[in-house]
Structure formats: structure tokens, C-alpha cells
Symmetry: C2
Subunit: 507 residues, 2 copies
């Protein structure tokens, strides 16, 4: 068969369209490449410029904004390919993503092997999966729960395809994590400050929110720069023994962010994927000892002590299989922690605790102290049961606050969190006692108000379980940066009275 | 709280971008609507024009091609909304798709109720699911196999949200179906012609290919018009007692096509969804009696007699629960049927059988006769075991061909199938006996050559199981309409020698 002459190219241009993560290429249906290759809308296309190539989803342009000699790329495709205006690009059908056969196998009950996990995670990290395929992968992990071996395989594959920190031989590197699901549970900045004040090594990387209104990285971003390069992070840790950075910016376990985006769109995360996500980031960050907080409550992510025990075991054993020492602590997850929910509002609570202010939420303070105490003991700075006293004195004396300021300064300076332009009080419809909070509905409410994309957005809770309220008394204040979002959160609040329950007081 | 004044609108324009099915809206990030509503890339947005509204995925335009006063719609969004250039549209955050909670529940083992099925299928039919959400639905059905009750619920919901044909009280309406997975098994046009020649009512609607290189609708489209309106189809059936139309064009079970698109992207279809798809189309088409062909073979869709029995039972019992009489026949699925694979090549084989040509593939003829025989018996035109003789004489006498021509004429005229511009022979690498065909690899090969989007593309098989071949003898001919596709299919063929197996002859 005769090979076609080398005419199969178009010149690239930047479409100026942000499709988020999925790379998209825009081509005319009647251009010579679409005709000779037989491309059609939504097909997957391989685009090559010199040695570099990416796979993108094809959107067919039927209007006149593109010439027959050009193909336009979405922002994500443009960046992924490292394209320049006028680059000469060749086009082919994208080969089928072979690792999808493992995803289909998993759906029908065939467990992931290490080799399968490596192929899948490599393909995801190279952005070879379309959104539809990513969704199937995430869903398959949720549906047929991954075994310990599978979870270890996925975790290892996720570690392998990203960067990895090494802090030196025989160095103890501490870390903490919360599995989430409890709004306002922002203990990390406080814990890191206390632990690092004692010279223990705690190079903390955090993720952004998955389905919650804020992650630690979102909250810290309202206080300082969290987008550090590998080298910047290393310098901060060298000088301060700790940092509070966003994990995604240093490419630790980079597939995690791709997977998280899809989990967020589905409002879903699976136990195995959750464990792989947590443990892979800890190992990639070079941690040796990690303390994991598992809040338990009927509306928290983990609903019963039994499930928490199961999750804890999977976390410990996955860590163990990959050389990471994991300790877990089960905590109360029946109501949100602190007052603020949303990046800036939580940052305000964190500052209040660190600065020993009178309005500091006592529950946030207590939870941070408990976790810091265990880490101080794990780190060997004090004996068993001596941790709580040491953590408390470190906080009360202002040493933790000094350390926190020093870390923020090293990351680029301490900032004041922004305040929202629009606020609205939600008041008690009747008198009574606060009998129940629905963490999920509260998180949803804060998200609808704009958190975490709008960092000042979210809500402030004015009551806690057991509080007595009068009719008309403010229960919470919604904060939003856009009128549309405030209205939308209010509509949702009116439609969901189960956000909290007020019971009549029995005298 | 004060309501914002009515300024929250933009003027619509047509983007001229075909994103396939998912509706997309293009807006500037710095337009007043994005700013006041807090929209961001890939967010889901509700667009209202007067009383009409749709939900679309937001792509942010960072270039200059869109003014601040305009929002552009993809082709699918434009059609779904029925928009006109310059329409004044209002924008809001799309409410969360509540029925996704049932999909999440299913993933964790909670079966679909009828109410859940109705909510999901209604949301899908209104195109409220993003591609990511559709993929999770499809995957959840594959992972936690649906029970009979769930399958009945999804089937009923799919019937309810589309149009439904009624052919009159107490009228027997015949239908046939093949669960697929066997390339070239294009019996339907022959069966319909034989059955309708006896005056039985068989208003056949077929789907396009899911993951295969051709569906009956794709094949028939190379011979006549298959895109009929409800009224056109009714007229054809009134005059001819039968039709051979595309089901999607008359909105019978319209969600099916949306689901099929995602299944195709994932190369996945689940048993429950398969049964719901088949039975819902039959009920919506007004059928009362349906015969279902289940080919069984190691590389067919159904791999063992045991699985075929299970599928047959689910088909029968789902049909029964909804008032449809289902009969099944298990057939040989060890090798492709006929010679051609791909719309036009299969059409050629169908014509050869109907016209009693010498080159007519005997296996295709025999399979069609067997199915037609059972339908003639089900329809009461002849006694038990008399069907085969009657079907054979109908075909041999030319009555079936006459009927077929009449049906095609009624649908707009009989056409000659197109021929492909590019052809390439694949030859035997050594002498021996054909010992095995891999139906899946053969289907993939025909798809890569361009079928069914390029109707003339596909392949022609020149050998069958047990045939003796010499080295260099042609095994098959690839047909393609584009050079790129031919090359691509060839590359695939070279990389997959398991397309068929030649064993040394034992003398």
C-alpha cells in the first residue's frame, strides 16, 4: 500500500477557550485532515508537533472563525502540548487506550494487578483518558470496592508517576491528614505550627477541596502563598522545619488532582481511591510517620465506628505495605468544627486559636491540641501521655503562633484573609434546642455560596449542639462574593430545612 | 435580601461548534453574568429563553471572538433550546441533578426503585446529565448488575419518556432483535421481508451500531431512507404491513441513544441496560411478540450457553412484566456471518440473499430462514414446524425480494450501496486451516477502517472456519473511504495477529 505524502498537517492556533482539564481541539469538518483521516465530532485525536504529542477530544467547527489551514486548541491542550502560534501539527486517530480494558475488567469483578494499576495511572497522568473514561474509572473503584492488594497497587502506581521528596536517610518525617467530611475541621495549620516549634520535621502538603467547601490548601491560600515549586518548598522546610503548601503544585502524585476533579463532579469518593490518594501523597512527600484523623458521625464522611475501623485498617496496612507508619485517631463528627466554613472564614478561626484570642473556637483548639500531642509523642520529643501538656503550653505561650508566622513569611508573607461582599443571616424559625446538624447539607450550602472557588464565601455558624435559641435569633450567616451565589444558597437553604434541627425544650 | 434587578441576561449567538451531544455554552469570564453569578469553567449553567430552558456545560472564552454582551451555544445546545440569533437569555447555576443520588446509591449497592428509575431516565432524556454523570450511570449499571425488578423499572421509565406506537386493540405486532456481538449477522431485512410477505404486521425499528461496525439502521441507510417521522412510518406500515426504520428518528425510548453514545465511548454495555434498551424499544414500538437472537461463542457478546440462558430469562421476564411476549433463540456465534462487515458491505450480502444470487452467503440465508420460520409460526400463518418450509419458499419464489423492494420504495426509494475508494487485501502469512476467528478483533478492525460512520468502509471475509488456505492467499479485504483510516486499520491488523488463527493441517 502506498503511504500518503506528508500533507497531513495544519497550523495550530490558540482557541482562547477554557474547557478545564479535558484537552479539546477545534477543526473544520471540511479541512483536508478531517476528510483524509475520517475524523468526526467527539472523536479522540493524537496531535503531534515534532517529538511532542497529546491526545485531545475533537470539536467540529461549522462556523467561519477557523480557516481550513488551521486547528485551534483549548487552553488545557495548548499548555499540555506546549504549543506556539503557527506550530505545524500532524494528526492521527488516537490509539484506543488499552488500559481501559482493565477498567472494564474491574467492573466485572476482575481485581487490578500492579501492572494494570501502572498502565491505568500512567495513562491518566498523560491525560489519555477522556472525561467519560475517567468517570468510568472512578465509578469502577467505588462500585467494586478495591481490596488491600489493589489499593496498594494503585497507591504505588500513583507514587511512581509523580515527583518524590527525599529528606535524607533515617530522618523522621511527620505528617497528618484528615479524611474529611467534617466542615470547619481545619486543625492542620495549628498542628504544624506546634509540632515544628519543637524542631520536628513536618513538610506539610495539602490538597484542595474535593467535594467540601474548603481544603487546607484553599484555607492556607487566603493567608499566604501555597503554590511552591519543588525547590521553594525545600528551602522553606530547610529554614523552618515545616511548610504548609499545596500538594498539586509540586507534582506529588499528580494523577490525584485529575481524579479529584471527576470525583467532585460526581460528588463521590471511594474508600480505596481515598486511601490511595492519601497514602500516595504522604509517600511522595517523603513522610515516614503519619497521623490520620477520622471523624465519625451520622452525616460525616464516615458514618459509624465500624466503618472508621475498617478504613483505619486499610490506611494502616496500605501504608505498612509501602513502608509508611500510619496511626489513626477517631474523632467526634456529629457537628461542624469551629465557626467558619469556607477558606477565609476558616482561616480566621485558625488565626484566633493560634493568637489565643478570646473568640477562638474551643473545639477547634482542643482537636488541634489532641492531634499535636500524639505527633509530639510519635516524634519522641516527650514521653507517652506527656504530649497534651507540651502541646498546650506551646500554643498558650505564643511559640506556635511565632512558628506559624515564620512559615508564612518563608512562603512569601502572611496575608489577611478576604471578606465577602454579601452577607445574609439565617434565623431560627422557632425557639428550642439545637438537636442535630447535617454536615453534608451545611457543606453543600457553603459550596453553593461560592466556597472554595470564591475564597471569602461560605458561612459562619453561631450555634452548637445543645444551645438554646429564641425565635428569630441568628443561626448562621451566609457569606458570598456574588449576588447570584447568595440567592442560590438562600434558595437551597429554604428548600432544605434539615440543615439543622431545633427541638422543643422539655422542661 | 434585595433581589438583583433584571440585568442578568446576554444575547445568544450560534458558536458553530459541534460538541456532539453534550450542550456547551461559551461565555467570557469577565462578562457581567459570569461575574455576578460566580460561574467558572466546566460549571453547569441553566439557560432560559422565555419559558424554555436547558442545562449546558460552561466553557470560558478567554479570546476576543465573543463580545461581552453575548453567549455562544454549541450546535447541540442551540437545537435543544430552539434558540434564534439574538435571543435574550437569562443564566443561573444549574440546580444539582438530584437523581444522581440514586446513581451513587446504586454504586454502594442500593437497588433502583421505579421512582428512582423515573427520575434518572427523565433527567437523562432532558439532557441534564453531563458526560461525566452519564458515564457514572452506565458504569454503575455494569458494576452492580441490575436485578429483574430494577431492569423492569428502568425499562418502564425508558418507555414512559418517549413516544409510543399503538397499532390498534388486539392486533398482533411482530418484532425481532439480535443482542449483537456477531459481525455481519444482518438477518433483519431478510426476515422482515419474508414475514411481511405473508401479511403479518412487522413495523421494524432498529438502532445504529453501539460498539459494532454496523447496526441494522446503518446498513438499511445505504439502501433507503431510514429517518422517518412518526407519521411517515405509520403510512409505510399501513401500506406495506412493515417498515425498516431507524428507531431514534421517531423518539421511541429516546434516552437509549444518549446512553448508547456513552457505552460506545467506554466500549461497554451491561446486561441490565442491554435488556432495558431492547425491551423498551420493542414496547415503545407497540410490539406484542418479539423473537430475540442470542449468538453464543467465545468471542461473541455472549460467551457461553449458561450466560445466554441467564440473559434470555431476564429478557423474557422483563418483557412479561410489561406485557410483551418474548421468545429467544440461541445461535452459533463462533465466526462472523456472511462476507461483508460494515454497512454497505452487509447490504450487498442482504441483497444477494433476497435476490437468490449464487454468491449469496449460505450462512446468512440459513439464519434468516430459521428466524423467519419461528416468526411465521408465532404469527399463526402456519403450524408448528411448518415455518421453515414456508419461509424457504417465500424467499426462493422471489416474494420476499418483491416485498423488500416495496418497503424501500415506500420509505423513499431503493438505493445502491456506496463502494469504498480504498481497498487492501490481507493475505495468509502461511498455509494451513482456519481454526478460529476473533469476532471482537474483526469488529474493531472494521470500525477502525471507518465503519459505520463511513458507510462503505469495513471488510470482506474470504474464508470461513475449516477452510484450507495457501500462503499468500487473500483472507480478507479492507475497505476504507479515507487513506488515514485504511492505514490505521492496517497498523492495527499488523499489531493483532489474533484476528484469526491458521493451524497446520494434520494429514
Amino acid at each position: 500500500m502506498k503511504k500518503a505524502p506528508d500533507e497531513n498537517f495544519l497550523f495550530l492556533t490558540r482557541a482562547g477557550i477554557d474547557t478545564h482539564q479535558e484537552p479539546v481541539v477545534y477543526m473544520r469538518e471540511d479541512c483536508h485532515v478531517c476528510r483524509s483521516e475520517g475524523f468526526s465530532a467527539q472523536g479522540r485525536v493524537r496531535i503531534c508537533v515534532g517529538e511532542r504529542s497529546i491526545i485531545a477530544t475533537l470539536n467540529i467547527v461549522t462556523g467561519d472563525f477557523l480557516s481550513h489551514q488551521k486547528a485551534a486548541l483549548s487552553e488545557s491542550a495548548w499548555k499540555l502540548l506546549g504549543a506556539k502560534e503557527g506550530d505545524k501539527a500532524h494528526f492521527k486517530h488516537a490509539p484506543p487506550v488499552e488500559s481501559m480494558s482493565h477498567v472494564r475488567g474491574k467492573l466485572y469483578g476482575k481485581p487490578f494487578t500492579l501492572e494494570a494499576a501502572r498502565q491505568i495511572i500512567t495513562d491518566i497522568s498523560q491525560e489519555r483518558y477522556s472525561d467519560i473514561q475517567l468517570s468510568a474509572y472512578v465509578t469502577s473503584c467505588a462500585a467494586n470496592a478495591m481490596s488491600l492488594d489493589e489499593t496498594v497497587a494503585i497507591t504505588q502506581a500513583m507514587v511512581e508517576c509523580g515527583q518524590k521528596f527525599a529528606w535524607g536517610e533515617n530522618v523522621q518525617v511527620l505528617d497528618k491528614h484528615c479524611v474529611g467530611g467534617l466542615p470547619g475541621n481545619r486543625t492542620t495549620p495549628i498542628v504544624v505550627a506546634i509540632v515544628a516549634a519543637h524542631g520536628l520535621l513536618m513538610p506539610k502538603t495539602s490538597s484542595r477541596a474535593i467535594t467540601s467547601p474548603a481544603g487546607t490548601a484553599d484555607t492556607m491560600e487566603t493567608l499566604t502563598n501555597v503554590v511552591l515549586t519543588f525547590e521553594q518548598m525545600r528551602k522553606v522546610v530547610h529554614d523552618q522545619r515545616a511548610c504548609l503548601a499545596w500538594g498539586g503544585s509540586v507534582a506529588l502524585s499528580p494523577t490525584d488532582d485529575i481524579i479529584i476533579r471527576v470525583e467532585r463532579a460526581l460528588d463521590l469518593d471511594s474508600e480505596g481511591q481515598l486511601v490511595a490518594s492519601v497514602i500516595s501523597k504522604k509517600i511522595a512527600a517523603g513522610s515516614t510517620h503519619v497521623l490520620i484523623d477520622i471523624p465519625v458521625g451520622p452525616t460525616a464522611k464516615v458514618r459509624s465506628a465500624e466503618l472508621a475501623g475498617k478504613l483505619g485498617t486499610l490506611l494502616k496496612r496500605t501504608g505498612e505495605a509501602l513502608g509508611l507508619h500510619v496511626q489513626t485517631v477517631i474523632s467526634d463528627g456529629t457537628q461542624p468544627v469551629g465557626r467558619g466554613i469556607g477558606p477565609a472564614l476558616e482561616a480566621r478561626d485558625v488565626l484566633a486559636v493560634l493568637q489565643n484570642k478570646r473568640e477562638a473556637p474551643p473545639d477547634l483548639r482542643q482537636r488541634a491540641l489532641t492531634l499535636a500531642a500524639t505527633l509530639l509523642e510519635m516524634g519522641g520529643v516527650c514521653g507517652h501521655r506527656a504530649g497534651l501538656g507540651l502541646a498546650t503550653s506551646t500554643l498558650d505561650s505564643g511559640r506556635a503562633w511565632e512558628k506559624f508566622v515564620a512559615i508564612c513569611e518563608a512562603q512569601g508573607g502572611l496575608r489577611t484573609p478576604p471578606a465577602a461582599r454579601h452577607r445574609h443571616d439565617i434565623v431560627a424559625p422557632r425557639a428550642g434546642v439545637i438537636a442535630m446538624f447535617n454536615n453534608r447539607v451545611i457543606s453543600r450550602l457553603a459550596s453553593l455560596a461560592g466556597a472554595p472557588n470564591a475564597p471569602a464565601a461560605g458561612l459562619d455558624l453561631h450555634v452548637r449542639l445543645g444551645d438554646r435559641v429564641e425565635k428569630g435569633q441568628p443561626l448562621m450567616t451566609l457569606h458570598a462574593e456574588a449576588v447570584g451565589e447568595l440567592e442560590y444558597a438562600l434558595d437551597f437553604c429554604n428548600a432544605h430545612p434539615e440543615v439543622l434541627r431545633i427541638e422543643e425544650e422539655v422542661v
